[in-house]
């Protein structure tokens, strides 16, 4: 069907399985690579072939270009899909693939390099007259200059370290009186963190929404956008729930933003799948944030709404086929939501919760899709991102999709490790979220508020008594052989004991 007979997936977890599913449907043999921690992983079991590429730490395995390419050569694969993360935005890897005669499933190297540098991308967009967050983008040495430019943009502004990342050297300045101390501390923090005290100014967008556009280009000059994804629901700048369409985008804004997204793609000489991220302010102005030159984690919400399989499309396009859709064939139908189900403990500051997944019941039925990388009996390793699965629902409109997501989350059962499933149920119940009124700071504010869980007194009291009864019935059955294959996580015992003691101490 396509030009490829065999494809290596240079990734692990749910996305590796996702890509292999697409390959199977296209009749392409799959090659997995795996580290010591992943011998039993689902992607290794799912693949037609599997090659070991090193110890558990990613730098010694999944990030080792030489070992991934060696596996590709040994297997005779003709193409490599990098998934997301790991080597997916690594231009050096893409170049190395080309040098070995392997098709890298992604954009051309120059596009990766341009978009890989935030400042270069920003400059290119400014030159082309495309909207970026107003800012200097260059080193500012004197307090006077900083104040002058800030006054020009209008407060609040952000001071940012030029070599920055991870929140270091970042200062929000609300008015001029705060500027002197902010300028000083941002510079010294930047110096300490990056050995470079350069800072620059950007206009601070208050309560922005994070909206991204999927774009897709082929090697025949076609480049289209596949509408937006709403990604404002973030915890500490990490997306946790995405949806499409965005409740904040109407047809005219969608058309304007989509047009800009395509222009940015053209500017970069883009082919294959990419994502243009924008901030949208409360006046519906939008600003380019960055471009991700790979498949996004949250690509399924687009797939559900448009009925397009992005991974199969990626592979086809890399094989030289033309885009399967024209811009006028792209029509949104209904509403899709994705929840990223993580092995983490919402009651303990979202601390990762790796370990043995000793029980798993996955939601199913109409409009429910679970893209998972785990199974009952799998031990979630310590070394990687603790994403277990992406739960995606579709329904005819946002209200119905929210109800369906609630139903699906209620069906989800994970035992042995903690997950954020109950946390999502809390989010869905929040009236502002239900109404579509939220921005990138919503979730952190909600968590800081420590909003008490909605009271469902009747049912909860009944549940409490049922728990007591069930424990008694289980213990009464004898030495509980029946439950012994559900190993009690050491953590729970520890936590339980700790909490219990704390509680006992309260007046």
């Amino acid at each position: 069907m396509t030009a490829f007979k065999k494809l290596l997936v240079a990734n692990r977890g749910e996305i590796a399985v996702r890509v292999m599913r697409a390959c199977r449907e296209l009749g392409i043999s799959t090659v997995a690579v795996y580290s010591d921690a992943d011998r039993k992983a689902l992607h290794v079991r799912y693949a037609d072939e599997a090659f070991h590429i090193g110890p558990a730490p990613a730098v010694e395995s999944y990030l080792r270009i030489d070992r991934v390419l060696d596996a590709a050569k040994r297997s005779g694969a003709e193409a490599v899909h990098p998934g997301y993360g790991f080597l997916s935005e690594n231009a050096e890897f893409a170049r190395a693939c080309a040098a070995e005669g392997l098709t890298f499933i992604g954009p051309p190297v120059p596009a990766m390099e341009l978009m890989g540098s935030k400042t270069a991308a920003r400059r290119a967009l400014i030159d082309a007259g495309l909207p970026v967050v107003p800012g200097t983008g260059r080193n500012l040495e004197s307090l006077e200059e900083v104040k002058r430019i800030a006054a020009q943009f209008g407060y609040p502004v952000m001071l940012k370290a030029a070599s920055g990342g991870g929140g270091k050297g970042l200062r929000l300045v609300r008015d001029e009186t705060e500027m002197e101390s902010a300028f000083r501390t941002a510079r010294s923090e930047a110096q300490n963190a990056f050995n470079d005290s350069s800072v620059y100014i950007e206009k601070y967008i208050e309560r922005p929404r994070h909206i991204e556009f999927q774009i897709f280009g082929d090697h025949h000059g076609n480049l289209i956008h596949l509408c937006e994804r709403e990604c404002s629901l973030q915890r500490r700048h990490q997306k946790v729930l995405e949806e499409s369409p965005s409740p904040a985008i109407d047809d005219s804004l969608r058309e304007r933003m989509g047009k800009v997204a395509v222009e940015i793609g053209r500017l970069a000489g883009y082919t294959n799948a990419g994502t243009v991220e924008f901030l949208v302010d409360t006046e519906r102005n939008f600003y380019f944030l960055e471009m991700n030159t790979r498949l996004q984690v949250e690509h399924p919400v687009t797939e559900e709404v448009l009925g397009i399989d992005l991974v199969k499309e990626q592979i086809r396009i890399a094989a030289g086929e033309p885009l399967g859709y024209g811009q006028n064939e792209i029509r949104q139908r209904g509403h899709a939501i994705e929840c990223r189900v993580y092995a983490e403990d919402p009651e303990n500051n979202f601390f990762p919760s790796p370990g043995l997944l000793c029980g798993l019941r996955v939601p199913a039925g109409p409009g429910v899709r679970d893209d998972s990388g785990v199974f009952e009996g799998w031990t979630v390793p310590l070394e990687y991102d603790p994403l277990l699965s992406k739960l995606v629902v579709w329904d005819r409109n946002r209200q119905a999709a929210l109800a369906r997501m609630r139903r699906a989350l209620q069906e989800y059962l994970v035992a042995g490790i903690k997950t954020n499933i109950t946390f999502f149920l809390r989010v869905l119940e929040h009236p502002d979220f239900a109404a579509g009124n939220f921005d990138t700071g919503f979730l952190d504010r909600m968590l800081a508020d420590k909003i008490p869980e909605a009271e469902k007194p009747d049912q909860d009291q009944e549940q409490e008594r049922i728990a007591a009864l069930a424990a008694a019935l289980a213990s009464r059955q004898g030495p509980m052989e029946s439950a012994s294959n559900v190993p009690a996580p050491a953590k729970s015992a520890w936590k339980s004991a700790g909490l219990q003691s704390l509680l006992n101490q309260r007046p």
Binding site: F351, A470, A471, L473, S475, P487, K491, A493, S501, N504
Partner: protein, 176 residues
């Protein structure tokens, strides 16, 4: 059979006295049986549908409970709906032997909540600590987490050193 049951979920705890009929051979795996909870009579139709998963029907209402033993005797983690309860169970015989506040007596072992690496030890042996005070910092999956004292006490022994890798449940520190 008479049980003293303590359930805890989030910040709430409840206590019950639960009376169940003695186990008969025929009804040990699934049956309808009568019970008394806090003197109030009730009837439950129950069965174990999969290992550790119980279906209970009480007055027509259908519940599912996932029951897992935790480390200690008579201690369970029970999931009902989306809520998790820690349930302590004592039958009338063991109640008096163990006493009500067993958790307070003797040193308490603080175990690693997950496999990881000890980044920092924040307290020294013999130091007095307050409830909630940070004891150690453990790193896993590139995130750091502070292990805090579950109660006030004295650090009797620190079992780990900075930089050391630990398995889940490994003893970190004894709190006297």
């Amino acid at each position: 059979m008479k049980f003293h049951v303590k359930t805890q979920s989030g910040s709430e705890t409840f206590e019950h006295v639960l009376e169940l009929p003695p186990v008969s051979q025929s009804s040990s795996s699934a049956a309808t049986l009568e019970y008394r909870m806090d003197e109030k009579p009730g009837k439950v139709d129950w069965t174990e549908v999969s290992p550790g998963i119980y279906s209970l029907i009480v007055s027509g209402r259908s519940f599912e409970a996932r029951v897992a033993k935790t480390g200690r005797n008579g201690s369970f983690e029970v999931k009902v709906g989306f809520r998790t309860f820690h349930v302590e169970l004592r039958d009338s015989k063991t109640r008096h032997q163990r006493g009500d506040s067993a958790a307070h007596h003797g040193p308490q072992e603080i175990g690693a909540p997950m496999p990881g690496r000890i980044v920092k030890v924040l307290v020294q042996e013999n130091a007095a600590v307050q409830a909630g005070q940070g004891l150690l910092v453990i790193e896993a999956m590139k995130m750091q987490n502070e292990i805090r004292a579950p109660r006030a006490g004295r650090v009797e022994k620190v079992h780990v050193r900075e930089g050391e890798g630990v398995e889940s449940g490994a003893p970190l520190l004894s709190l006297a």
